[in-house]
């Protein structure tokens, strides 16, 4: 993939992820829950 196309794809993915986290119900809770579970299992 050309650099320009790749950067455009990155920008689109970033916007989609940000919108999903902000506006799709349950997504932010799911991410935070997963992160917390990971940290509580692995953090020392």
């Amino acid at each position: 993939m050309k650099t320009t196309s790749y950067l455009l794809l990155c920008a689109i993915v970033a916007v989609v992820v940000a919108i999903a986290v902000r506006f799709v119900p349950g997504v932010s809770e799911a991410i935070e829950g997963t992160l917390l579970a990971f940290l509580s299992t692995n953090a020392r």
Binding site: V13, A14, V17, A18, S28, I31, E32, L35
Partner: protein
């Protein structure tokens, strides 16, 4: 070479997704009524504002964490609390390292600023002033309380050396 480029691009995308998600979550929480476990929050708004004589703080022994909000800047985080000799204290560890001072930047802000804060526990908000206790025999009791309640290996020497900062949540008028 092309395979390597495609692999690097795929890895970049895979790293981008969680990075954007975390930054968005951090942004989303910045004005929330209190912190989450992972992210700082904004001004503590809900809950009755306590007015009255100095409470008997021994009840904090059964409170694992409290929500602590600085007034300047307005941001809140979850933090441990201990009681010793009728006074309440919060601790900030790792303060002798640059990473610790960045991570626990609230402690630097509280020490540099006026220390005005609001603490919320059991749904009640208490207006307090953070006063750093850098030395003195009172630290023996605070260190013992931190060790007993949380297993935190703090000692008076450790605190006086600046590795752990202790703040008393003093009354505003004091």
């Amino acid at each position: 070479m092309k395979l390597l480029t495609v692999g690097a691009q795929a890895l970049g995308l895979l790293l981008l997704i969680p990075a954007v998600a975390l930054v968005t979550l951090r942004f989303e929480h910045r004005n929330a009524d209190g912190p989450s476990i992972l992210f700082p929050g904004g001004e503590l708004v809900s809950g009755a504002l306590y007015a009255g004589p100095e409470p008997d703080w021994t009840f904090t022994a059964r409170v694992p964490t409290v929500e602590l909000q600085l007034n300047d800047p307005v941001s809140s985080r979850l933090i441990w609390i201990v009681e010793s000799e009728g006074r309440i204290y919060v601790a900030s560890g790792y303060m002798s390292s640059l990473l610790g001072r960045l991570w626990k930047h609230w402690a630097v802000q509280a020490d540099d600023g006026d220390g005005l804060a609001v603490v919320r526990m059991d749904g009640t908000r208490y207006e307090r002033r953070l006063v750093r206790i850098a030395e003195g025999p009172v630290l023996d009791g605070v260190a013992a309380a931190l060790q007993a309640k949380y297993g935190m290996p703090a000692t008076r020497q450790d605190i006086e050396a600046g590795n752990t900062w202790i703040f008393e949540l003093a009354p505003r008028g004091a």
